[in-house]
Amino acid sequence: MPRTNCSQALQEQILQALSEQKTLQPCGGHSKDFYGRTVNGEKLSCAGHRGILNYEPKELVLTAKSGTPLQEIEAILAERGQMLAFEPPHFGPGTTLGGVVAAGLAGPARAYRGSVRDYVLGVRVINGHGQILHFGGEVIKNVAGYDISRLLTGSLGTLALLLEVSLKVLPLPEAETTISMSCDSTTALQHMLTWSRQALPITATAWYRDQLYCRLSGERSAVHDAISLIGGDENTDGSIFWTALREQTLPAFTASKRLWRLSVPPTTLLREESGEVILEWGGALRWCCENRHLIIDKTDYWDYAKTVGGHATCFRGAKPGTEVFQPLPSELLALHQRLKLAFDPKSLFNPGHLYGTTAATGL
């Protein structure tokens, strides 16, 4: 379908829902249905709204419709020796670009190459008034008007429906190697912090089951130099490990009943957790895999995260209807509510997907 008809069809559905005072749940490949608070709304599928609209390898920019499968985008980039540097998780075969940007989740490279929003250059959206709007563009530097593209990244579809996204892409590294070494978590964290202070071509670090993993990517010689500096053994299964970490298919993840995501300043000391712990992102991301049923109260994680200056998310396994994201200070929550009104005054999109207090104030 040409660009127009497709966006118009979605726009019509939105206007229809507005007039009928319905709520909508924008969705793509359903790969992240587990994520965020549960929403009651009519499904608005963007999966048919697909296709790459512009890809110029020399410009390092790709624009695609929101329903385009992530796999398709990754494949076309790989053909031209390029990649999405933030390594988004798929969490399933059908993941779409819209879902990737709406969820704002990045993979193992995040601490070294940047987040989803760091690579978002522009969006075309439909807001809660049913208007098709375009912000940002296809150029790398652009400060005309507020940076609404980056605001929408990670807003879990609560502000507007994404129609198209332009992303900055990067060349694939010439060489990539993973090294690993045995150590406990405290030692691992120490290593990660030390490495962060040096100019090394590190693109991922993780600690899992008494192994510290470090991925080096770049010019062959740079990778080679770094290996001798860091030590450890070359791990030939490195890329399998990083994929399993990103996709949460490592046994610790799959065995967990409830998965907590702790995003903290990397220098935060490790604490005893009730479940198995996995470290990523140079220490800035800590997964707690609870494998017994709901023994820890959620507020324990939230209080802890607040004290150390980070935030905690009940990533998987929250009881339906309950809060999953770190509670916001009241003045910040109030601003969130005003912004929700600024984009979606009738609470059309995903009400209560982020926070739910009452129907009127939920985001």
Binding site: D118, A144, L151, A222, P265, P327, E331, H336, L341, A342
Partner: protein, 490 residues
């Protein structure tokens, strides 16, 4: 250009409360002293403010805002006043809130690679403080000796190293933002993401319209082991522009990739004598950084690529001293222009890299039409053009011609799929062209965002986002169909 209004006298009640909040030397009332603040780095826009205040604590800033909020007095935040889009231009009935005295580096944590600083800290001062730890703050605007981190956040400033290291938004972890009513928000943290919306990213580049930045945590990077720069001369501008795309296409991401046209090369060389190729029609500076072997091997590839693209000569700086010399020329662009022209006006559009040659050519044609000289020194790797319009404000009509030419160049950038500003911001300067880049509904959406932060419209009103009504008038006057969607491509 704005017509200057007569500055109002400050309400004595307001003044007396301000005198309780601030020491005497922190309130600027005399006309002579207020003159210092009448413009930023774009002096075509001038306005004497009603009053200037120079608090030195966050508490004072908060009280000033609360007071102005209660009295409905507009406030314009100001850093060093180096902005190039008239973003810090005062209001006749408003207060200029200078953050220059909040200039302490509160904490530098080499373990976490972060620095917590006040908004008035100069950009370069952060890298200087980090230097003993082998760290630095990456975004390096050419104004970095003077401009403040608060101003950088407000403009999402870039520098010559953006292509590889990103803009301000990629290098900030946390912002403390005071809303107009005095509410303090902490956006972001030293963790790598936040709960809720990414309000930090929204705040960056918001040109002082959403809140006043009172504290910033920046990310520090380890200094690369080695950096090398190549200087390539071309006998044709489009060959140089083409080489930019070829370097990227080869999978290389230079730390810096800058271009200069012939007139700029000669103006700079006359001024600083750094050994630039004065015969050339254009030159590129291409810097690679990393470890020893990596940089050496990349420089070989760069040299081959440049020659393959028709470079008439490629010179690689032999040592640190020569590398510094090559960059000194680039950084002297403005003063060099100042020597050959009484006045100059710097534009700031970004275009897709493949359109560089076309836009440079179009700019030259426009310059001829307007009978003015334009020189170009710019961030080619980012497609971020800085056409420098040379003029003489003392010659009748030249200033107006320069402004009109500038406006045409911006329209050209939009036409080829680019943007009216890559890093300097909209301010007052490009408010008209915003009406071309965005349609009414988009502008209204931006205004609703503004209202969520500042419902009374007291923070830097009139800048960055034009009123749709203003746009309707502009579009009518400039012959566009009124209400026309300027980018109804589909």
């Amino acid at each position: 250009m704005t017509r200057t209004k007569h500055a109002q006298t400050c309400d004595p009640v307001l003044l007396s409360v301000l005198q309780k909040i601030l020491p005497d030397d922190a309130i600027v009332t005399t006309e002579e002293e207020r003159r210092v603040y009448e413009c930023d780095g774009l002096p075509m826009f001038r306005q004497l403010p009603m009053l200037v205040v120079l608090p030195d604590t966050t508490g004072q800033v908060r009280e000033i805002l609360q007071l102005c909020h209660a009295h409905k007095v507009p406030v314009v935040a100001r850093g060093a006043g180096t902005g190039l889009s008239a973003g810090a231009t005062p209001l006749a009935d408003g207060i200029v809130l200078s953050l220059a005295r909040l200039n302490a580096i509160l904490d530098l944590d080499p373990q976490a690679c972060t620095a917590r600083v006040q908004p008035g800290v100069r950009n370069l001062a952060i890298s200087e403080a980090a230097d003993p730890h082998g760290l630095y703050y990456a975004p390096d605007p050419s104004s970095q000796i003077a401009c403040t981190i608060g101003g950088n956040v407000a403009e999402n400033s870039g520098g010559v190293h953006c292509l590889k290291y990103g803009l301000t938004v990629h290098n900030i972890l946390e912002i403390h933002l005071l809303l107009m009513d005095g509410t303090l928000l902490i956006l972001g943290s030293s963790a790598l993401d936040q709960a809720g919306y990414d309000l930090m990213a929204l705040t960056i580049g918001s040109e002082g319209l959403l809140g006043v930045v009172v504290e910033v945590v920046v990310k520090l990077l380890p200094k690369p082991v080695l950096a090398k720069v190549a200087m390539a001369a071309f006998d044709d501008v489009s060959k140089a522009a083409n080489a930019v795309g070829e370097i990227i296409a080869a999978g290389l991401i230079p730390a810096g990739l800058e271009m200069m046209d012939g007139p700029s090369i000669r103006a700079v060389e006359d001024y600083v004598r750094v050994g630039y190729p004065v015969e050339a029609a254009a030159m590129l500076l291409c810097e690679m950084d990393g470890n020893q072997v990596e940089v050496e091997s990349q420089m070989v590839r760069i040299e081959d690529l440049l020659k393959g693209c028709g470079a008439t000569s490629v010179k690689i700086a032999a040592d640190e001293a020569e590398r510094a010399k090559f960059w000194l020329g680039r950084k002297s662009a403005f003063p060099a222009a100042g020597r050959i022209s009484p006045d100059y006006y710097c534009m700031d559009g970004t275009v897709p890299r493949r359109k560089l040659a076309q836009v440079l050519e179009g700019t030259a044609q426009l310059a001829e039409e307007f009978q003015l000289t334009v020189t170009n020194i710019f961030h080619a790797g980012d497609g971020n053009l800085h056409p420098l319009i040379l003029f003489d404000a003392n010659k009748p009509g030249e200033l107006k011609r320069a402004e009109d030419l500038g406006a045409q160049i911006l329209l050209l950038c939009i036409e080829v799929g680019g943007t009216i500003t890559g890093e300097h911001g909209v301010g007052l300067e490009k408010i008209q062209q915003m009406c071309v880049q965005f349609n009414t509904e988009e502008l209204e959406q931006m205004h609703r965002v503004k209202e969520a932060f500042d419902p009374l419209q007291l923070l830097n009103p009139g800048k960055a986002v034009p009123r749709p009504r203003h746009c309707a008038e502009y579009r009518l006057a400039s012959g566009m169909k009124s209400g026309e969607d300027p980018h109804a491509k589909d």
